[in-house]
Symmetry: C4
Subunit: 369 residues, 4 copies
């Protein structure tokens, strides 16, 4: 761990962002047809290492189905509009038309004030199941309350996602904090947990039985947690640190836990760098929110954008870049890496000579001076 | 102390600004209702760790009363407009309407050329006392001249504040420099001293009997001391260094001296980072100057903006962000952390799992590469 | 090698760009008439250390002839428009008029979809030969297919150039990857290879018998490989590292291999810094593309700009700076170093007191803090 | 010396600019009336540590007289317009009206193509002498040719100034390079030499008998040497390094050589930082060029702006900030440090508690992370 001190008194870790990092080619190259970008979570194999983020701007039952066809999986947010509204098309259309700024924030706060309806949770999971794979997310404080209906409806993968999830939550008396270890012991369903910001948290969460960890800034690229809370975890460092913890845990337990990078990957280069730093797969936000089929027609916001007291995510409008297929697999007519993300991943493996994602994690890295 | 050398010949300390620093979540989280942000100065307990800066754009008798109601304390500048004008409303209204630039500087110079009137010092302290707590500031060179009238009028807390205050001032013959040690020995009133820029100065000032130190750039976020004087002290490093000196002094003396961060905290994240670096409380400037009740309706300037020969603070006009209550406690409809600063502090303690401000100073920190 | 770690787990090299670096004058100065900037590749001596990049925006048979007159050599791209079109003037004129952006990218993709015609390869090499020196480039995957016609037509210097070329390519079964060692053994023609991104690759390529290595980012200053592939190699570090590998190889083999810096040198200062970092000569792109005689009248794009699936180079329009002679040798009426690049090189040698390019590689360097 | 390596192969010094550096207050403060900013060069005492740069935009006989009245000294460039034109008012007026850009460069080239007239050298020195002190500069290659006429006319201080001056110049046969050691032995006149870019050069130049060294980038803040020649020397590091060499030379020889910082000091803070890094005095350019009395009415250009083949300095038009007296001594109505530079110096000494310039060089420094 690269350490420094602040004023000779406070230790601090030096943190690298993905922008600070790049891969160096190795002494070998490889035909792009000879690379393999498949991965797996628990027993589920996937052709591409891509999850759709559990955000209303990214994943709907329809886009989850599309992403499943392409070999990945979309994760539906069970705390979002789809479980608050019988028909979320209307609020989504309204949000899609908002102008960025305080008025957008205020309207999001109002729309998300609508309560979650338990019966809609079951209904949404059933919709997801119709396409063969149902992945959805709940925040830790709602898992105990809503997991039965989700599991009964056929949920295949549960993502327990909050801004920061830990294995030790200190709650108010009378509340019933989630005991993850007990939960994973009671149920067969594989559980992915996030956001994870550090190796220490990661080790504790892996010991609860989680099969995957979502790493990085609560999974929201537009998070303003650095401004609102003073909290930030540079992604390249966090991935590398959690991946190293994963290896230590593998040695301790024999169990391999997936590390999933999230929170601001926008280009093929970002995907490559996240994996080279240690991730097994990625969870995408804006690239999928800027697909033609995206639920909010190019609008993007994190769930924390709608917090009633302290909004902590920026609403923005993205340029539509093409169909989801084009965004992921090209062909691109842009030179900025925002289209054909997986083509970029495969080509980077060709240029650096690595055959699998696991080998890509051996790539040599350079950081800016 | 992290040292480097300039040209192999001059030692230099590496300095971090608050912007360079962020907190990392720990392995624990906590319900936001279970955190405690109270603190104390000497015998005075406060519900919130917030002082209003002794600047005419921030603290008037009226805003001091408001801040007292909210659990903090405003410090009135006894060298400012309130002791130069019977009724400062007129100059404040004029200043509020100035356009930033040399003309504003020139007008400030004229308005502050009005002499300080001793009887107004007493009157202002009495006004403050009516709301149960009177805190006010004097520059070191005016303490001997004016402290009697302030103490007689019932001052509860004296802030001795200049750009840089030290325990050893070399003055012209015939002048009567402040002897802080003798002063604190003679009077019961607790004395807070600032600006303090380094650990060495801090140790000497603590030994004079000060109960608190205001740390950082003379307490003025718009200070241009770096350009005009070549002097600057990156805040994160300065806080950490002074806080470490405070601990050494505590071991030496058994007396705990409050470290108060000042000079440019604008968001909840800034407050969190200042405390995590080692501060016990904060002194706010722009956040309070942008409250609806602020004396100058959103105008902000440091006292040095009006220096007759070498102005060293920038006049600016701020957006009004809401009532003081809203700025401090929300609810916010903005996502940039400038509103609901204390909500940000409480939530950051929830996300990092710390129960008290004292524990928050153990938070893990990261710095930019 | 300056190393750091990312998250305590992943090693990374600290990389410097040319912009981070500058030369320091030494204790000696020298009349500018007393410096010598000649160099050689294999048996070919050159008066100036300049190659024209194998890009359609830079080198045509006509500009190769011009550069030869000036003492350098232009390298024609045998995979570009000159071997796809009988008369490339029309597509070049059309490209010269494109507006930067996705539409330009799309049109480049269409124009480069035209197949390479073998007979044109021979014809172009003959055109080059008429001016006494024929240098041309082929990508590694086309060398086996097209080298006969090029050699038969009288090629003097072959540049094997791709984004990243290594000595070990893993290809699809049925394809016939280039065996460089065998190739250089079979033929007398000197072979220069690039892009080379690291010392390890360099050592392996030198052992194949290459007489020169083109170092840096695939030789394209507008490459977006960092965004599209996550791959980047800061040029100052890469040159220094490859030059050190060259010295080790010289000790091992007795053979001196030329290190040629490419990919973004725009000013005389860039040329100076590239050589001071360890290069023997430079390959120029934009400076030659902005000469009056440039094939595309100031338009610049890398070959990867036209990739059918994942374009990775930015099309731009450059200001015309003067004739090729003026760009290289002045006189300049601009103060930004973009004109009179070789005057800058000679003067820098005067100011630092070095007589030859080989000695300039001993210059003291400084990097930004 | 803080060293790093580029690519593990090339050593490089880490260089700090003045902008990277700031002073920290010490544990003492001092009344501003109790500081002393006088200095001396050889036998000549000066009330203020300011030389006017030998540039046509800064120093004319008239502004030299003004600066002498204020306690400093202006250095007239004997290679500039004043020795090329009988009456330079006309070219100065024309230059003052140029628009920045290539046309300005071209016109400067033409105006400076006028030859130097020997009789004007004598006349200008006589003009300077009328005000009690005549300081003027010649480039090294013109010293042998023109020093007789300058000395005969009563020159008091000779500044030998070029972009980079060293003790060992390798010249063309038939030319007569300046032998500084012999020159200082032959004549009584004190000689200041610059630009000096490194400690090694400094030591050699001190041994030639120079009484002062002008440190930094050839004394031209608008120099484009970094772009045109790849040469740059970050000022804070260069000053500190040369000052340390001066101390070593003092121990070796018993002779104290003045270190004069030049090349881009624009504010009081810059002056403070230059001295705190190790300079004894400063040579000012833009601050004096933006005085009401400046020869070119606010236009600024370095001599290299007019080089016939490779211009290396940027022409710009500055805002007029007030009379020379106001620029140097205030009062200021601006808060950016560009007016009242010496008030800033005195106040910085007050805030940091140092009494003399010599003690200010002990100030604690901080550098940006």
């Amino acid at each position: 761990m690269l350490e420094t001190t602040i004023g000779g008194a406070r230790q601090a870790r030096v943190g690298y962002r993905l922008d600070d990092v790049a891969l160096l080619p190795s002494r070998r190259t490889r035909d792009v047809e000879l690379v393999d970008i498949s991965w797996r979570i628990d027993a589920y194999p996937f052709d591409i290492p891509v999850l759709g983020a559990p955000l209303d701007s990214v994943t709907s039952p329809a886009t989850a189905a599309l992403l499943r066809e392409r070999g990945g999986a979309g994760v539906l947010d069970l705390e979002g509009l789809w479980t608050r509204y019988e028909d979320p098309d209307e609020p989504l259309a309204e949000i899609a038309a908002l102008e960025p700024g305080p008025q957008a924030t205020r309207r999001l706060q109002e729309l998300y004030a609508e309560p979650i309806r338990e019966e809609l949770i079951g209904r949404r999971v059933e919709q997801l199941s119709q396409h063969g794979f149902a992945a959805a997310s709940l925040p830790p404080q709602l898992v105990e309350r809503f997991h039965h209906v989700a599991l009964d409806a056929g949920l295949d993968l549960l993502v327990v996602q909050g801004v920061a999830v830990t294995a030790q939550h200190v709650g108010l008396e009378g509340t019933d904090p989630l005991d993850l270890r007990s939960f994973t012991g009671r149920y067969d369903i594989p559980v992915v947990v996030g956001g994870v910001w550090s190796a220490k948290t990661a080790i504790h969460l892996m010991r609860t039985g989680a099969v995957g960890l979502v790493v990085g800034n609560g999974g929201d690229p537009n998070s303003t947690a650095a401004d609102t809370l003073g909290i930030d975890a540079p992604l390249a460092t966090t991935i590398a640190e959690v991946a190293a913890a994963r290896t230590r845990y593998l040695e301790e337990s024999g169990r391999y836990v997936q590390v999933i990078a999230a929170g601001g990957l926008r280009t093929g280069g970002d995907v490559v760098k996240a994996i080279a730093c240690g991730a097994d797969g990625v969870m995408l936000e804006q690239p999928l929110a800027s697909a033609e089929e995206a639920p909010a027609r190019g609008a993007y916001w994190g769930l924390a954008a709608a917090h009633h007291e302290l909004p902590r995510s920026r609403y923005e409008r993205l340029e539509i870049l093409g169909t989801m297929e084009t965004v992921l697999e090209g062909p691109a007519h842009r030179d900025d890496g925002t289209v054909n993300l997986l083509g970029g991943l495969r080509r980077a493996m060709g240029v650096t000579g690595y055959e699998t994602l696991a080998r890509l994690r051996d790539a040599e890295l350079t950081v800016r001076a």
